[in-house]
Amino acid sequence: METVNIVLCGLGGQGILFMTKVLARAALDQGLDIMGAETHGMAQRGGSVVSHLRFGHVESSLVRSGTARFLLALDADEAYRNLPFLSENGRLYVNALEPGFPVPEVQRYLDSRRAVCRAFPAEKTAAVLGAPMSANLALLGFYSAFEDSPVSTDAIEKTIRDVSPERFREINLAVFRSGFERGRRMGAGLAGR
């Protein structure tokens, strides 16, 4: 299959590594070859964190700028910072409030590259369920709701069930499903327009 590049970004402590792990494992269960790169060490202490994930037969773990089909961002500023990764026709999924994101010049850039931005308040969605630190799973659910995700909602949900510690399992799944519902409704809305 054609290589699919994904870049996941946010701030240290937001669970970028966990989100990457879940997505990678779900993709593996679907039979995809996995390669990826992570940030560890000092940068994890509140700094910018970026994770690269590649599905397909590749040698290098790094995504080259301009070649990521998907950019998943847990923070609006980090979404902007990692914009150069996004490919032509790419999809940006971001934890942000819809009016206000993106700023007009970024919207113009996305339009010029026929890229689509899908923003939703993942942190709020998670907070409503009492798990404000689980915005990562809400964003994953949201992402998986759209038809262009190479990894299915079922595969991700199964992975979350498998890898979550017992005491967080139900809440993690609830947050994921809540994000998925938001995405499904948005997807249906776009289709109906």
Partner: protein, 620 residues
């Protein structure tokens, strides 16, 4: 069993255990820290009896593994590249002495650097020590090379270095399962003092032996087609070829494959030392020019004899510092192609995006200490007690005390103490009373603080040493410390008391304080300064003891306080600038400081920080 996703470090661990490695030692350090934990996970799940330990430093780790390797065992030690500096004394000598079993030194490089004080290239250390080095390009190859390194070491009786760089260590890749190997080889040590305790006269003989071994290994490497190979078409000549090793190889391979550039042949060097010269000669012979892409220094480039053909760092065609990420490699190749008037790679349209992003004026995200971190409280108290001091510090989370104005220097492991001595003597020579307060973590103190402290006491240096004791090696992923008395595999070891270690170094002033109590901590540091300044005094040690808030949340904050900010806040910003807790922020709408309750750990330390008393515990 089905495929699993492995971190590169996990793949290294797997490779070691598949090859029957019996002893694995390590000191944690990014990007190497995950190797030993994965070894432990596997030996537990597979019921292996591999001996594992977190050693107190890298030299200890190497010496321990070396002793096993001259007792016929298969042994490995793991560290980061600057850790190999600490173990360099052992490495150089071990190369001469050789092994009877196997010794693999895994030294993980950090081009970038992402989490290190230098970008040094372990391959140069291998060259200096005259030991073979293997340079994997991805986790899959790192796994294979870990086993190969053990085999080579045992066959040629020489230590072998495996150097995965950070993009291998922290890459994730799906890999097929293979059985681990139970190795029941018994320890046998045959006494031979003229070898194992060789005097200089015998060292000359050992040096000659080592040179002979290297010749044999070099000829082996010529035919090692799994890791050294090229894609030249027979008889064809090329205007440009590329030679690459390690991570840059995988980057170049993807670029050339993606662009379908079969007109540019690629030579991969998986064994940069001893260098497979014949293979390189064959390759350079077929090319008018060769571009060398390697991280982070020049090793392959030095070994290529036909300098006129070579484009690389020495010719100024490749950046002499920084990581060779895909964008950089792309740019280098295109510049070379342009200068040779060859067809260019298709340029990705990323410049527009970069300019756009630069124009957005995004906040710089510098790493900070975690909310509730006891180091933050300690630094605040230290600055309050000793505002005019020089603050020498060390390697660990607390290096981030730089944001709080509590860190003036950071040289290497243990240098907070030795540099404090140096500062004291430099100023006292001029009869200048310059207070110095050194900070070091508990793990770093055990690693290489004690020798320096003993030296400071012996040579009558005067300073305050604050040991930030959070009972864990936090920055590298929460490994246990000798003070805790928990060993690498979770079993009980003997707890080594900091107080007794400090006392054993000859220190008379030792006080323990809880940094969460800023006022008490400040008083203790002031008393320590008095002791250091007293003609009859000496080095004063304060142990700032509070558990790491990430590793031991319950113990660190037994009762959570709900913190809020009242209208007494005058926006002096002292808490934001000098205390810098991520949970405190300026709320523009309220026109004052506010608390982000999601990030706040409820430690309540900031209550004592506000000069106006505006940070308070909320009433029920």
């Amino acid at each position: 069993m089905q495929e699993e996703i492995f971190l590169g470090n996990g793949a290294v661990a797997l490779g070691l255990l598949e090859a029957g490695c019996q002893v694995v030692t390590s000191y944690p350090g990014t990007p190497s820290s995950e190797i030993l934990p994965e070894v432990i996970r596997r030996i537990k799940s597979e019921g292996l009896d591999t001996y594992v330990e977190w050693s107190v430093n890298e030299k200890v780790a190497l010496d321990t593994a070396f002793a096993a390797a001259i007792s016929g065992k298969r042994a490995a030690c793991c560290m980061k590249q600057v850790g190999l500096n600490v173990a360099a004394d052992s490495l150089m000598s071990a190369a001469y002495l050789g092994t009877t079993g196997a010794l693999v030194i895994i030294s993980c490089d950090d081009p970038g650097p992402h989490s290190s004080q230098t970008e040094q290239d372990t391959r140069l250390m291998a060259r200096l020590a005259k030991v073979p080095v293997l340079d994997p390009s991805n986790p899959e190859e790192a796994r294979d090379m870990a086993g190969l390194a053990l085999d080579l070491s045992e066959e040629f009786k020489v230590p072998v270095i495996l150097r995965p760089a950070i993009r291998v260590c922290h890459a994730r890749q799906s890999l097929p399962p293979r059985p681990l190997s139970k190795n029941r080889r018994k320890a046998v040590f045959e006494k031979n003092p003229s070898r194992w305790a060789a005097t200089p006269k015998f060292r000359l003989i050992l040096h000659r032996e080592l040179n002979e071994k290297l010749k044999s290994i070099a000829s082996r490497f010529e035919g090692l087609t799994a890791h050294n190979f090229h894609d030249l078409a027979p008889g064809k000549r090329y205007p440009l070829g590329i030679i690459a090793g390690g991570v840059p190889y995988s980057v170049v391979r993807d670029i050339l494959s993606g662009e379908k550039r079969e007109d540019i042949p690629l030579l991969k060097i998986g064994t940069p030392y001893p260098f497979p010269e014949g293979l390189a000669r064959e390759f350079t012979g077929a090319c008018e020019k060769v571009l060398v892409l390697e991280e982070t220094d020049t090793v392959i480039e030095y070994f290529l004899r036909d300098r006129e053909k070579v484009l690389g760092r020495l010719s100024g065609d490749v950046p002499a510092q920084g990581e060779l990420v895909p964008e950089v490699v792309y740019g280098v190749i295109n510049t070379v192609l342009a200068s040779l008037r060859l067809p260019l790679l298709h340029d990705a349209p990323d410049r527009e995006a970069l300019e756009l992003v630069n124009g957005l004026d995004l906040p710089v995200r510098k790493p900070t200490l975690c909310p509730g971190c006891p180091h933050r409280a300690a630094f605040f108290a230290i600055r309050k007690a000793a505002p005019g001091a020089i603050f020498s510090s060390d390697i660990g989370c607390y290096t981030l005390g730089i944001n709080l104005g509590g860190v003036d220097t950071c040289l290497d492991m243990g240098a907070s103490i030795t540099m404090a001595s140096g500062f004291y003597h430099a100023f006292s020579q001029d009869k200048t009373a310059q207070p110095v307060v050194a900070t070091i973590g508990d793990s770093t103190f055990y690693h290489s603080g004690m020798t320096g402290l003993l030296n400071a006491v012996y040579n009558d240096a005067r300073f305050v040493l604050v040991i930030l004791d959070n009972s864990v090696t936090a920055m590298t992923g929460m490994q246990p410390t000798p003070g805790l008395g928990i060993r690498a595999d979770g079993s009980r070891g003997k707890s080594v008391s900091l107080e007794r270690a400090v006392s054993g170094c000859g220190v008379d002033f030792i006080e323990v304080a809880d940094p969460y109590d800023i006022k008490a901590m400040t008083r203790v540091v002031k008393r320590a300064l008095d002791h250091a300044g007293d003609p009859e005094g000496g080095v004063a040690v304060v142990i700032a003891r509070h558990p790491c808030v990430i590793a031991y949340r319950e113990a660190a904050i037994p009762s959570r306080k709900t913190v809020t900010v009242t209208d007494d806040c005058v926006e002096c910003n002292l808490c934001l600038e000098r205390f810098e807790c991520p949970a405190l922020y300026r709320d523009a709408a309220l026109g004052r400081t506010a608390v982000n309750q999601t990030l706040c750990t409820g430690c309540g330390v900031c209550i004592a920080v506000c000069p106006k008393g505006a940070i308070v515990e909320a009433r029920e």
